[in-house]
Amino acid sequence: MKINALFGLASGVLFAISAAMTSSPFPLIMTFPFLSGRKRVLVAELLVIASSFFLLRAMDRSSLFVFTERTMTYVNLYLIASIVIDKASVLGFLGRRGIPLVLALDYFPYFLSVASDVVFYARARELTSGLGPRKLFSLLPSLALPFIVEVVRVAENLYVAYTVKLYGHGTRQVVIRPSLADLSFLAYGVLALCLSFIPRF
């Protein structure tokens, strides 16, 4: 079940407002049905909620439990957005201006795989062993550079591909009725052929 981005956003804003403005547990409870496909996430969240409820109760700070509710509501909203929102429908209400956004979303898995590749090979070369904050800062450019080179390359290629104009949307259209200019150019070719057959004197 995919939902149009416009209505999904409106509903998400309503959820966020109701979580931020009130201390009612209903926003949190109403987000759970959407996560029924993800049993492990659901179990982990219920464990977190139960443990925070009982801990705060034991410490006599039950008034703080509402912050747990709100945090969990936002986490759930983030998870729901990745499940229900039909991201290509952004084009429906943004039109041509939405194309960069949809392009960006399409490149998300690719960049994720590039990032994990970079980290994987850095680990394979034992660059990251014994990682502390100081070594990390010296390592940061060598981790970032391959990734950024790939990003710049993708952006350049995409810009070239984006500005190529595919006239007629790639459909075949044989022009039956030639224009006056076409006809006169054809006649010029015929004239050249005829003139070349005139025997020389």
């Binding site: 998400g12 994990s116 990390l136 710049v152």
Partner: protein
Amino acid sequence: MNEATRLWVFAAIFSIASYAVSAGLSLGTAAYAASIFLDPVVNLTLPLLILSVGFQAINKRGGALAIGIITAALFALSFMFFLTITELIAGALTEVSAYFVGYRGLKASTINTAVFGLSEGALSVEIGALFLHYAVPALPLVAFAVAFAALGAFIGYLGESISSYLVRSGIMK
């Protein structure tokens, strides 16, 4: 070729790269990625570094604002509204600072990234807390802002060294 198209395509690609890295960092798709990515220092730095190079790669009026707008839209589509507001304001503030110092060069990169890091870090803390119906007191917020500004300036320095290398090697125009 249309210059505005170039601006938006570059802004989109750099935004999604930064977003993908920060999503990969915070969610940890694989165990080996998680071990390095769960480090809070990396989590704050790598996405900011990519955006810092992005400002310099676009090198055009409106570049910082475009990156802010597209990142905000990406966060809106994943229902993280406090980050949407944060990114819009951070992009606008960086655009203002870039109006005075430009986009490329050590000074410009350091100042722009410091402004972006300061506004993004401080605002995301404050607005995120407001979404929990809690206002962060002024003193911790100022401490956060100073820390993020210092971090941003350092990341800007790294970003300048990376992008000047890319320009010298001909990858970036």
